[in-house]
């Protein structure tokens, strides 16, 4: 638990020595690629103007890895994550998750894919206000195939004693942890997190990151995290930087830091 801030400094991230843009690290190649994204583009037609949210993105995600996406606002991070989570489909290109083709599947198959394989965590929690913490989790475990008990999921995020509170009775960080519990309770293959700490203060944010790290470590879940905080990259296996709808840099951390060691 010693602090070694320099390693996770953004200067370290951009250091050419440890950076090989658009290439996969040899270590990762031994692992199974769960997501295959080939030449993904997303174009929004806004009247006369075309907005290119993604431009021919190539990316694989591997089983059990923790990936952090960084990039300026509007660079296409959310768009990419939403496509991975089958909330959105690309304008062109192909996305596969194991043997599921996410580009050509009809809506009901995408729904089933989300139901069986993906857990989501968002900036604004998106909990159901009329259900208690426990019920928000059981809502998902009821439709999942091999869920963990809802209480266990909440215990994992440290909320074992707040089971019967409604969202409005919980703090932002607690609500976000309920959202994580809800996302992991189904034992998803991937956990997609879009700015999970965006609405939280420093220490609460860290608490949430610890939970994510622990899920990744203990359950072997592939975790993708979008953030504006470059220092969070320190806890990732890989840090992917985006700009104007393109992946501009992939950085492989040789040494992952624990969330408590991060500094921002």
């Amino acid at each position: 638990m010693q602090a070694s801030p320099k390693v996770n400094d953004h200067r370290a991230l951009s250091a050419p020595a440890s950076t090989r843009p658009l290439a996969q690290d040899h270590d990762m190649q031994n692992r199974e690629a769960v997501f295959h994204m080939h030449s993904i583009s997303k174009v929004y037609q806004m009247g006369e103007v075309q907005v290119h949210a993604l431009r021919s993105v190539e990316l694989d995600l591997y089983a059990g890895e923790l990936v952090v996406f960084l990039g300026p606002s509007g660079s296409g991070k959310s768009t990419l994550l939403n496509i991975m989570g089958a909330l959105d489909t690309p304008t062109s290109g192909e996305v596969t998750f194991r043997d599921h083709n996410l580009t050509s599947a009809p809506d009901n198959e995408l729904t089933r894919f989300r139901r069986e394989h993906v857990g989501f965590v968002f900036q604004f929690y998106n909990l159901i206000p009329s259900l208690t913490a426990l019920e928000n989790v059981t809502l998902v475990t009821e439709i999942a195939e091999h869920p963990m008990p809802a209480e266990e999921a909440l215990k994992r995020v440290g909320l074992g004693d707040r089971l019967h509170h409604f969202p409005a009775q919980l703090s932002g960080g607690e609500q976000q942890r309920v959202a994580i519990a809800r996302a992991i309770a189904k034992r998803p293959d991937v956990l997609l997190c879009d700015e999970p700490t965006g609405a939280l203060d420093f220490s609460t944010g860290k608490l949430v990151l610890e939970v994510l790290e622990q899920i990744n470590r203990e359950l072997g879940t592939t975790v993708a995290v979008i953030t504006h905080n470059a220092s969070i990259g320190g806890m990732a296996d890989r840090v992917i930087r985006m700009r104007s709808g393109e992946i501009v840099e992939v950085h492989h951390n040789l040494k992952k830091l624990a969330p408590s060691e991060l500094e921002w």
Partner: protein, 788 residues
Amino acid sequence: MHTLHRKLLRDLLHLRGQVIAVALVVACGVASFVAMRSTYVSLLSSQQNYYRDYRFADVFVQLKRAPEAAASRLADISNVATVQTRVVMDVILDVPGLAEPAVGRLVSIPGRRSPMLNDLFLRRGRWVEPGTDGEVIASEAFTAANKLDLGGSVQAVINGRWKRLTIVGIALSPEYIYEIRGGGSLFPDNRRFGVLWMDREVLGPVFNMDRAFNDVALTTAPGANLDEVIARVDQALATYGGLGAYAREDQLSHSFISDEIAQNRITSNVVPAIFLGVAAFLVHIVLSRLVKTQRMQVAIVKAFGYSNFMVGLHYLQLAMVSVLGGIALGVAVGWYFGLKLTTLYADFYRFPLLEYKISPMILVQAGLITLAAATLGAVGAVRAAVGLPPAEAMRPEPPARYRLGFFERFRAARSLSPATRMIVRNLERRPVRAAVSIFAICCSVSILVIEFGLMDSLNRMMDIQFRNVQREDVMVILNEPRSFRARAELARLPGVLLSEPFRAVPVRLRFEHHSHRSLILGLEKEHQLRRVLDRQLNDVSVPEDGILLGTKLAELLGVKPGQVVTVEVLEGRRPVRNLMVTGMADEILGLSAYMELGSLNRLMSEQAISGSFLKVDGKEEPTLYSLLKRTPGVGAVAIRQAAVDSFNETIRRSLAVSLTTLIVFASIIAVGIVYNGARIALSERANEMASLRILGFTRREIAVLLLGEQAVLTLLAIPFGYLLGYAVCVYLAARLQTELYRLPVYIKLATYLWSFVIVAVSALFSGWLVRRRLDRLDLVSVLKSREQ
């Protein structure tokens, strides 16, 4: 203001579904108000004008026979203004093209036209030629039903001889706006019953009524005490076989029409009230929701310096566009239906002029009441919009508070799935809204139950009467009581399988200080063609001693079985006897009392019958009918099947309009409530629904969650609707319970099922409309924003 107007247009466009739903509910309210009010006013003024212009009498009385001189005794009674003596006789008619014998009511008129009570409105043709034999003026309904025209003729059996009566005029009378024979018939059978007016100088001598009369109509001075006049009239006519005087209220045609008009008045108040209440509620919830979603906008507009008044007006305008649209549509539809309804009535009731009048007053009233209701609905929402200080309005709305609801304190509720809990908690969070929604849907269900239920009850009434009580095919009524020889003659008529003679005696019954006119029906000991039944349709035995009363009659007299009533016979030697009430029969039509034929004969010191119930071999019917037409002594023939047919025909005609209208009305309430409820729920919970979709819920599953709330409301409302509908049926049946008939409340299972189906289909349709929006929910955009 210009830009605010543009916002108004965009908001209207965005909310178009809800705006239309509100407008439709408003339109129903306005349409029903306009249609029923204008029909009511048209009917009432037609009736009043008719009565006034044609001098409809105040008191009526029938008697055996009195010399013309007796009329002056009546005129001398204080408070009697005008006396009109008449000769009135029912005779058998042979109408061209009609196999069965019809009954004609011959009513005398002065040979030279002069003002008289119950004056005729001569629609076509001319007055009878004084002193000319065989000329009649016929009632319009009768001639129309039998396709008779001026110059046409019918044959009448008068004093045992055929007489050709030629129609020289076609007329209407205020006495027969609703033209029925009486004696148990409730629905007009214009083919088999008609009124024919004849010169008194011609009619009188034929029936031994030369310078004599057997019927009186009179008017009273304004403010006269009618009961007193009636008592005096009865006194004056007692020696002439008076059958008891009665006031307008008991006059057949008048009491039917007045009931009908009164019903229109009630419905013209109740139905629009329901719709406008629902409309006010919808305006309230739609606008409240809009104001909430536009909280920020209100704050910004106010921060720019728009006044509270301008902001309030803006939202009020939004509501008013929808309401004014509804009013315009409602006035047009109401006008059309009013016209239709009046035409229907004109077809049914005979007024010289049933003019459909729609006064601007009604339209103004409709407009004002509706606007008032809508404003009432809008005011709370608008107040919320303007009441918020801009700084506070800038902040997002605090999250909705949920808590463990009332129902979840029960153990059983703990095993509910989270989805069910969401539905329950959302309902419990807005108990008032849920209650009002339930009430509104309940009204929609009950409208159907009432309409179908009254129909069921009416059918049930006719069913009991014509299947259980009246089992004869033909009832023959002799024009005066005959000896037992007639009995054998009736039994020998061709095709008669069974003949059960009866004696009917007009009486006045007294018990303590109550008295009532009635008819004692003397039945044979073993009678099967006319049964006397209790409420459960079990036979009640007719006593060999004593008297059996109909429940309504007993109620009017305040008498119970075991007590003794005084019977004043109004016929023959007019004996007065005390008789023990042995039991009660649950009669549906009329106010009769029953005795055993022998004991009635002993009371009358006679051996006589008034007629007979016949069971007839169908193949022999034509022979029987043609023979009955020419049998002397037969005063009237009533054919059961004809009565059933005239009932069905009446129902069929009135049903066509009212049924479709009410189904549309009920559906619009249900759609208005469910559609708006679901749209508002969608607007409030779009984020929630999108989140669920992201979690892997299918479109169908979230639809169940969102629409489940409305489904629960609808399902909860339905039993209440059944109860309310049933209760209103009971109330209406009690109110409709006149001395003429009693409506047994009887609602078929099918009625409940149909009401359910109609409301459920309306709800499903509304759900489907919202479901289409739900399917198009944008998942990604939800993630970009906090609530709202």
